[in-house]
């Protein structure tokens, strides 16, 4: 698919500027953006939140919210400017020539219409009669690999899973064979394994029907795997546009470089390599700018950058909006952010340094629905955590990885006493820990703290940062109020925030800054154990690295134990010394960080590793896909809980018998009926980068 062979581009966006009006002021969400999508091309648009990528996608669909207006530019589809068309004319284009796959499958389907009907109604406008439309709908459902299409067609959206709904939306989008699919983060919010099969599906469909895609995402891996061409957007501007392989291998814009440096590669570990990330915080859309939009965060900024750079054509098909692209290309200027501090020395777990031990911890919730259920004793139980035994050493990080519903967060909350455990013991520094907070002394509370996933909800919005930091000092460390104030300032310094932040309110801070404050709060009482529940997943990519580094540094310095909960094996692999893989409340595999990426894997770990989109367009990965969705924790399968989806399913043994915990040489564990040797024999290494990755084990 070379450019020369398709002289007439399918989609051309020319100098598009879109402005939003909010609270009486208007600001540009997209400024002077031009891009071209060729016939049959998959074009990726990467950017963080607020970069304008979704606005751009909606402009291409000619479907902007009321508060947005196009201020200039053109959107040409096959040479015709969509922006000049009225709604009536667009109706002949929507669905038929361009189709849209939205981000949120939960709200994007009409809740009170059956799936089949929703699929069919678009077809009926093409003149199909009801029977034909239904036939076509069923075949489309089959095309997107939905099991039992007639049943699905009769379902309402709430009766099927998120992944299935996304497939329905894709079926809907391709139903009338459009030339261009505009996809707005179609897999965000889905589990990794589900995402992998949806991405497979999209790739497959596009190839077979030779459609073009404009694929919008914040996920570097997904775009790397999906797109032929990738453009990077930042603060409403397009900063770099290149063929995917070229962009990932030789980025010419410092922001692209920073973005790539912000996320750990699968197999990288903090003990060997330090993430660089991007300094500073992303600009807010209302800021007025002159000069280069990336100026404030750029390691290569010079006076010249105060003049806005144009998009320089650096090579055939590669443009970059940087004054210094030539120096970068020549290697005379390093676009990477300076590495701050060195990572701590590698350590290995030693006996006797254990701070926290879990013994057969079990958490069940009654699924109470009404008084009537209580009386009829039909209480069903959510088996969230099942017989988990783990230990955490001082100064070490335990990574807990699992998909949604795996019980990983519940386990964290149980350790902290925010959720009552049903049975099992937890020992903190050798002493048994009461089940709930109410039974724990302030001293005990001080020893265990938590960092929460959602930075927007981590703080009382009406309290100043100083107050937020003072409370644990006063309540848990017994600091007198005046002393607490000065300690709060030093806590801010410890998380690299200026002291004047003390007077600010959480809403005045960026996400990364808030998560730093959360870290400061968590460490205020000098905890022995810190639970971090997806601490970076709600942050923009470019600030994730800094938070991750900070968390790591403080933990190492304070020598506390860390339980890091995440769905992202790459992040877990980077931060953790020991990794535990959890599925339906059960630990499937426990292994030292380096070991988890090498065979033998637990079959579930193997599938997870296979599902993670490598941030390397030319990387290689085994294709292991799980069937269907994970069962609900209310109906945990007997035997091995993973047997319903296991690609290495043996038969009745897996169905009936609880698999044994097989110990590995390094003290790891794999819960499987298949022996370790056999696993090792049949399992290749799941993934391989096209070139060696720094610090990878």
């Amino acid at each position: 698919m070379t450019r020369a062979s398709t002289p007439a581009p399918l989609l051309e966006v020319q100098r598009l500027t879109v402005a939003y009006t909010r609270a009486g002021r208007s600001y540009d969400a997209v400024r002077q953006v031009s891009l071209t999508v060729q016939q049959g091309e998959s074009y990726g648009l990467v950017g963080e939140s607020g970069s304008g990528k979704t606005t751009l996608a909606l402009s291409v669909m000619r479907y902007l919210p009321r508060s947005a207006a196009v201020r200039g530019g053109r959107v040409l589809l096959n040479g015709a400017d969509l922006l000049t068309l009225d709604a009536k004319a667009m109706r002949r284009i929507w669905g038929r020539r361009i189709a849209f796959v939205p981000q949120d499958p939960h709200t994007s389907l009409n809740p009170s219409m059956r799936i089949g009907q929703q699929l069919g109604e678009g077809l009926s406008t093409d003149g199909l009669d009801q029977r034909q439309a239904r036939q076509r709908a069923l075949s489309l459902l089959a095309d997107v690999h939905l099991p039992d299409p007639p049943r699905i067609a009769e379902c309402y959206p709430h009766q099927i899973s998120g992944g299935m709904r996304q497939r329905v939306l894709i079926a809907m989008a391709i139903s009338r064979e459009p030339q261009l699919l505009v996809m707005d983060e179609p897999t965000t919010g889905l589990d990794t394994t589900t995402q992998a099969s949806i991405l497979d599906l999209i790739r497959d469909l596009v190839r077979r029907r030779s459609m073009s895609i404009l694929y919008v995402s914040h996920n570097l891996g997904v775009v790397a795997q999906m797109c032929d061409r990738v453009a990077v957007m930042y603060a409403g501007e397009l900063l770099e546009d290149a063929p995917a392989a070229r962009l990932y291998a030789r980025p010419l814009h410092p922001y692209t470089q920073g973005l790539l440096d912000s996320v750990p590669r699968l197999g990288q570990n903090k003990r060997r390599v330090r993430l660089r990330g991007v300094a500073g915080r992303p600009p807010s859309p209302a800021e007025t700018r002159s000069g280069c939009v990336f100026l404030a965060r750029c390691p290569l900024a010079i006076d010249l950058c105060n003049d806005a750079p144009t998009l320089f054509e650096t090579a055939e098909g590669h443009t970059a909006r940087c004054h210094r692209w030539k120096e970068i290309e020549a290697g005379s200027a390093d676009p990477r952010q300076p590495a701050s501090r060195k990572a701590g020395p590698p350590r290995t777990p030693t006996i006797g340094r254990e701070v926290l031990a879990l013994q057969d911890v079990q958490v069940h919730f009654p699924l109470r629905r009404s008084l009537a259920d209580v009386f009829s004793r039909r209480i069903r139980r959510v088996r969230a955590v099942e017989d988990v035994s783990l230990s955490i050493e001082r100064g070490f990080a335990l990574g807990l990885v699992g998909e949604s519903g795996s019980g990983k967060t519940t386990l964290g909350l149980t350790i902290l006493g925010l959720v009552e455990r049903t049975s099992g013991e937890i020992h903190l520094l050798g002493k048994p820990l009461p089940s709930v907070i109410a039974g724990r002394s302030p001293g005990t509370l001080a020893r265990m703290q938590m960092i929460f996933q959602d930075v927007d909800e981590s703080f009382v919005p009406t309290m100043s940062i100083a107050e937020i930091l003072r409370r644990p000092l006063i309540r848990l460390s017994g600091s007198p109020p005046d002393e607490a104030s000065s300690k709060a300032i030093s806590l801010l310094e410890a998380v690299h925030l200026p002291p004047e932040f003390a007077d600010r309110f959480p809403s005045e801070l960026s996400g990364g800054e808030r998560q730093r404050v959360a870290i400061a709060r968590a460490f205020a009482s000098k905890p022995e154990v810190l639970v971090a529940d997806e601490p970076i997943s709600s942050l923009d990519v470019s600030v994730q690295a800094a938070v991750l580094n900070l968390l790591n540094d403080i933990q190492v310095v304070r020598d506390s134990g860390l339980i890091f909960i995440s769905h992202d094996l790459a992040v877990i692999g980077y931060i953790s010394d020991v990794i535990a893989v959890i599925y339906l409340g059960r630990l499937m595999q426990v292994a030292p960080a380096a070991e988890i990426f090498e065979p033998p894997y637990h079959p579930y770990t193997e599938a997870l590793l296979s599902a993670i989109p490598l941030i390397d367009p030319r990387g290689k990965q085994e294709r292991i896909r799980l069937q269907g969705d994970a069962p609900s924790p209310v109906d945990v399968p007997r035997g091995c809980p993973f047997h319903t989806r296991c690609p290495r399913f043996l038969g009745n043994l897996c169905k009936e018998v609880d698999p044994p915990e097989q110990r590995t040489a390094s003290g790891g564990m794999i819960r499987c009926h298949i022996s370790l040797d056999e696993l090792k024999a049949v399992q290749p290494r799941v993934f391989a980068f096209s070139s060696p990755v720094e610090g990878s084990g």
Partner: protein, 516 residues
């Protein structure tokens, strides 16, 4: 999908469907309503009356204008009182008094039948009045008729009343609002309407309406109307609008602004009649602060009766003084017995003298209907200038009278209905220890004069006693009577021959007719 599409469309179609079904409900409801409605071939001559809702239908217990109005159509009085406060024959066609003034003999009308068809005889009269005077009954008339020692039927058409002592007002007493003749041995007088009166009850739907048809067998001649349709209105303003809108033919108990506005309205005839009905503003004299004569004097000085009369009654009726004897009683009224002119400063000085240095705070109780709120407001404003701070307490009738509040409170405004002669007021509201002596007034000289007036058969003696009484009340009485009011009523243009009585409930519909 087909079924689904259909049900979606059905859902949308359900909206007009809902409208249709509602329309059907309405139509059905109207239809059922019409089946019970009489649809006359020719227009009936029915007078439509709007009055306040009633609580009582037992003649012995009725009190409001509305209740009396209904009873007066269904039943007959032995003796009636006309619009000029004169006695008039009704069931009693003639009467005579023994020379000692102790025995009254009445001739009764012949050929009178009750609505149930039974004949009216002297026994019914005896039974009726024996019931009314029975002290054990607790009926309000028990006191009034306590002077009767015996009631005897001479024959079917003659009855004799024997008195303990002479009573110059006895015939008026027999014309009392409650003295309607019932069928002897009526077990539940409050559950039926078996009278001899000019109209018989066809339908009573409490508390909506009561429908009557003319009693064509009425002994004094059938009424000219075919019937009466009485609808109850809790709010007289609403009745006024209904009259103006042509839905009513007669309303009464109007406020002054209502009367005023109706005088200018098209298609409406207004009625006005002077009465001795009045309102009494009174302070209890048996306890502080009213037991200090200076306080009562101050209240008098703070009050401008003429202004109240003009503002609240807009000059309809007559200005009052300090006694219940008004100008309607031409024989007894003394225009010279008038209170001192208003002087708020003097009133303030008196109050200071009485120990109320800053302000005298009082709660003033009254009904929440009619002119009371206006009067209260006007009084409050006048008194404020004399340093009297009044807080108005407007209460519903059931509370004011029902709980005996009116007899208990310090400061109150009570309305007293019109009576054909003045003795009643003195005996029940001012004589020491009287049943409704709301001011708890007690004055031996007054009592002596009241006793004299109530027993002498000599008009001169009585008139002189009444004059002295009026002077005593000006000098040291507990009452402020701002005005004697006129009663207002209104009819539609087609009503003819209706004369509003001073007690509007006694208004007669026997000779009312409708213009063609």
């Amino acid at each position: 999908m087909t079924t689904e599409a259909r049900s979606a469309r059905a859902g949308l179609r359900a909206i007009p469907g809902l409208v249709l079904s509602l329309a059907a409900v309405v139509a059905a409801a109207c239809a059922t309503g019409s089946s019970s409605a009489t649809s006359p071939a020719e227009p009936e001559k029915v007078v439509r009356i709007g009055i306040q809702p009633i609580a009582q239908t037992d003649p012995a217990l009725i009190s409001s204008d509305s209740e009396v109005l209904i009873a007066n159509q269904v039943y007959d009085y032995l003796i009636d009182i006309d619009e000029s406060n004169r006695l008039a024959a009704r069931l009693a066609t003639d009467w005579s008094v023994s020379p000692d003034g102790l025995e009254y003999t009445f001739d009764l009308a012949q050929g009178v039948t009750f609505h149930d068809g039974s004949a009216f005889t002297a026994r019914d009269v005896v039974w009726t009045f024996d019931r009314l005077r029975d002290p054990a009954s607790g009926y309000p008339t028990a006191d009034l008729y306590s002077g009767i020692t015996d009631i005897r039927a001479v024959d079917d058409h003659q009855v004799t009343f024997t008195l303990l002592k002479t009573n110059p007002f006895f015939l008026f007493d027999l014309a009392d609002n409650h003295a309607l003749v019932l069928k002897a041995d009526t077990a539940f007088p409050d559950r039926g309407f078996n009278g001899t009166g000019p109209y018989r009850v066809v339908e009573y739907v409490p508390p909506d309406r009561i429908v009557m048809e003319a009693n064509t067998d009425y002994f004094a001649g059938a009424p000219q109307l075919d019937g009466l349709e009485i609808t109850f209105f809790a709010d007289t303003s609403s009745a006024v609008e209904a009259l103006q809108g042509g839905q009513l033919d007669f309303i009464m108990g109007l406020s002054t602004p209502q009367y005023d506005s109706l005088t200018q309205a098209d298609g409406v005839q207004t009625q006005i009649v002077d009465t001795n009905g009045f309102v009494a503003v009174r302070l209890r004299t048996d306890r502080s602060p009213g037991n200090d004569p200076r306080v009562i004097q101050a209240l008098n000085l703070a009050t401008d009766r003429q202004s109240l009369f003009e503002v609240v009654r807009r000059g309809y009726g007559s200005v009052g003084a300090s006694s219940p004897i008004g100008p309607v009683y031409t024989d007894y009224f003394d225009p010279s017995a008038s209170p001192p002119p208003r002087d708020p400063q003097a009133a303030r000085a008196l109050l200071e003298e009485a120990g109320y240095k800053e302000v005298l705070k009082l709660d003033m109780y009254m009904l929440n209907t009619g002119d009371y709120p206006d009067l209260g407001a006007a009084l409050k404003a006048q008194w404020a200038e004399a340093g009297i701070d009044v807080s108005l307490q407007l209460v519903p009738e059931g509370v004011y009278y029902g709980e005996g509040k009116w007899l208990d409170v310090d400061l109150g405004i009570t309305g007293w209905a019109h009576r054909p002669y003045p003795q009643f007021y003195l005996d029940v509201m001012l004589v020491c220890g009287a049943k409704w002596n709301e001011s708890h007034f007690c004055d031996p000289e007054f009592d002596r004069l009241a006793g004299l007036a109530g027993s002498t058969s000599d008009l001169q003696t009585r008139a002189s006693a009444y004059r002295q009484i009026q002077q005593i009340l000006v000098d040291r009485g507990p009452l402020i009577v701002p005005y004697f009011f006129a009663q207002f009523g209104a009819t539609s243009e087609r009503v003819q021959g209706l004369k509003l009585k001073p007690f509007p409930g006694r208004t007669d519909f026997r000779n009312v007719s409708l213009a063609p």
